[in-house]
Symmetry: D3
C-alpha cells in the first residue's frame, strides 16, 4: 500500500518550521500532499495562489511532494486522496493540546486515519505564521523565518 | 439549604460531553439550572431558542433540571437564582487554566459562589462545541458527538 | 442516598490549602472522610498517628467530618465506606494532569465513583505538603502555611 | 549604561496586576517606559488617551517611569528608545508559552534585547484586562481589580 | 533504505496503550524493535525476562516486530541497530514536555535520528505502567489495562 | 542600593544553559552569587568541590560573579548575603509551574525577595543537568551541552 500523508495548514505564509517538518518526514512516506486549507469567509493575508506558487516552487525538484488547496474537513480531503496519514508538527504544549483534539476527532470520524507528529526543531519553536505575518505587516525583516524563495520574493515586493 | 447549581455555557450546540457532566452531577445537587449565556453582539450558529428547545427536550423527564438563557455576568445570574454553585466540566489543561481564572474571578466578586468541577470522560475529551459546529457546517456526520435528540433533528434538517 | 465523600491524601502535613478545600466542600456533602493514605514502605515525615491527631482535633466540632487512615487502592477504601465521591483540590495545570489520570483510572475500575474537584484559593496555590515539610526541616517558620493547631504544636516542639 | 526597560501592553485597562509588576520591577531598572501598544484596526474599549492619562496619573510622582503609546513592532520601539530590556509579568503556564514565543522572536530579531519576567502575585493570577473589561461592560463593580485612580474615575462615570 | 523504528520503554508492564501504539505504527515502518531499557541499579517490578517473554508472545505472529532489551543511551542502541526512527506515544501535555526534551537531545547528539509520535487513543490516556503496577501490587484487577496474554498470566499467578 | 542576585541550583553539572542565563543577566545586576545548593542526604554525581572549581574557573575574570555553596532554605541564604533578587532560568511550562510555586513561597516568607526570570535560549531548552548527567554516565559525548572548561576536563578524566 502506498504511504501517502497529507500535511494540512493555512501556510499564510509557509515558514522554515514547516519546511523542516516536510523535509524530515520525507523518508517516512511515499508521497506528501501539502494541502493549503482555505475558508470562504476568511481571505487570509497572502492569496491562496501566492501561497501555492511559493510552496510549489520550493519543492519543484521533489517528485514525492505535491501542493494543492482544499476546503472542507481535512479527513474528507484525505479520503478523496486515499491518504491514511496526516502529518503535523508539534512546537509547544499549547500546540499539543489543540492538535490532540483535532487528531482524536479525525480518528473518531474515520478510524483508518492516523496523525503522525514530528517535533519542530528547538530553534524553530517560536516561529508561527501569525507572528511572521505581523513582522511582514510592519515592514520588518522576516527573512530569518522564511524559506529563501519566499524571503527573496518579499524583498522584491517591498 | 437547597443545593442549586448553575451550569453555564453557550452550548452551541450541547454535546454528549455536556450531557455526561449534567447526568453525573445530578446526585450532587437538588437543582441544576442549565444556563445558556448569550451575547447581544454575537448571534451564534444555532439560535438561542433552538438550543433551549433541544436541551429542554433532553431533560424533560428530569424535574431537577431546568433550562434558561441569560446575559450578563454569570455570578449576577447565580445571585438572582440563589444558586451557590457553578458546575463546570474540565477536559484539558488548557481548559483548566481558563476555567481557573474565571472561577477565581467569580469567587473574588462573590465569596459564597463555589465552582465545582467534574472531568469529562476520556472518550469525550476532544469534543467541543466549536469543533462539532465545524463538522456540521461542512455537512459531515456529527451524530457521534451529539445527544440523540439533536442528532436526529439535524438529520431531518439536512 | 447519603452523600459521602472521601478526601484522600498523605497530609504530611495537612496545610491551610487542605483545610480550605474541606471547609468549602462541606455544604456539598453529608459526610467527608479525611483519609490518610499510608504506604508500608515509606514512613513519611510525621507519623500517621500525629497527622491523624492533628486533623481530628481541627475538626472535632464538625460532626460531618471523620478522620481515618487507609492503605491500598483509594477506590477499594471508597467501596468499603460506601462513598460515591472522591474530593480533590486542584492547584495548577501540572496537578490537573496528574489528578485527571488518577480520577479516570478510578472511574474505569469502579464506574460509580465520581471525583469532584474544587480549586485551591489563589493565595494557596503554591502551598504543598512537600514544600512545607522542607521549611519545617530547616527550622524556618512554616506557620503561614499551616492550620493554627498544627503551627502552635510545632512551635512547642521546636 | 542606563538600564531602561519597556513594559509593553494594551493596558485596556491597566490593572492592579500591572501596577504590582511595575512597582516590583522599579529597583531593577533606571527607567521604565510603560508603552501602550495600539493597533489602527482595533480601537479597544478605552481610548488610548484615557489609558495614558490614567497610567500617567498613577505614576506622576515616580520620575523613573514614563508613559507613552506606540504602534508597530515592540523591538523597533525598544531600539528607538535605546532600551535593552523588555519587562513582562507571568501569570499562568498558558501565558508562559505565549510570552516565550514572543520573547524568543524578539531576541532572534534583535539579539541585544533581553526580556525580563516577574511573576504576578498569587492573588493577582486570575486578573486580566479582558476579564476586567467584561465586568465593567456589565456595570458590575471592578474596583477590586483596578488601581484606585482608575476605580474612582469609573465610579464617577457610571 | 529500510525503515526501522525503535520503540523504547521500560514496559513494566506493557499496557494496552503500548500495544495500540505499536499496532497503529506498523503500516509506517518495515521493522519495529520493541526495546526494553533496563538499568543496572533499578530492578523494576517484573523481571526483564518476564517482560520480554510477554511482549514476544503478543507479537509472535508479526514478523516485522522484534523484542529485545538494552541498556545505555537509546541513540547508541539505535545506531547499533541501524534504526533511524524512534517511536513514541504521547498521552498528555506533561508527557509532551518530557518527550520533547528527550527527542531534541537525541537529535542534537545524532542528527539523523527522528522521533515519530503517535497519540494514545482517548480511552488509553490515563493508563501508565506505574499506575497499573500499583493496581497489581494491591491485588486488584488490572485486566482492563493489560493485553490479554499478560492479564491471563497474572490471573494464574494470583 | 547594591543589586545582588543569587543564582541558586545544584549545577550537577553546570550546563551551557546555566552559563547563558548568567551572562545575559550580568547587565541587570551589580553582583551575581552562583549558589550551589547541597543536601546532606544526597551526595550528587559530581562533588560540591568539583562543581565549585569548574564554575569558579569559568567566571574567574568576571569580578561581578562569585561562587559559593549553601545548604538550607534559599531565602535564608539570600538574607545572609543581603541579596534581594533570585535569578532563575525558565525553559518549559513544566519548569514554569514548579518555579512559580518556589518563587511565590519565597516571597510569602520574605516579602522583599523578588525572583527574576530569564528564558533559556531556544537551542538550550532541552538541556538539563539530569539528562546531561545521563549522557556522561554512559560515556557518551556531552561536550555539546557543557561549558568548554568542563567539557575539556571530562575528556581528560575519561
Amino acid at each position: 500500500m502506498n504511504k501517502t500523508a497529507v500535511f494540512p495548514g493555512s501556510f499564510d505564509p509557509f515558514t522554515i518550521g514547516h519546511e523542516s517538518i516536510v523535509e524530515r518526514a520525507l523518508p517516512l512516506f511515499d508521497n506528501i500532499i501539502i494541502a493549503i486549507g482555505y475558508n470562504v469567509q476568511k481571505s487570509g493575508y497572502f492569496s491562496i495562489d501566492q501561497r501555492k506558487k511559493w510552496i510549489s516552487k520550493m519543492f519543484e525538484n521533489q517528485p514525492k511532494i505535491s501542493v494543492t488547496e482544499y476546503s472542507g474537513l481535512t479527513i474528507d480531503f484525505c479520503k478523496q486522496k486515499e491518504a491514511n496519514f496526516i502529518l503535523r508538527g508539534l512546537r509547544t504544549s499549547a500546540d499539543f493540546e489543540y492538535e490532540r483534539a483535532i487528531a482524536q476527532m479525525n480518528k473518531a470520524m474515520h478510524y483508518k486515519i492516523e496523525t503522525v507528529f514530528l517535533l519542530t526543531l528547538p530553534q524553530h519553536t517560536f516561529i508561527s505564521s501569525s507572528v511572521v505575518r505581523e513582522v511582514i505587516k510592519y515592514k520588518a525583516d522576516a527573512s530569518l523565518f522564511l524559506p529563501k524563495i519566499i524571503a527573496d520574493d518579499l524583498k522584491n515586493i517591498n
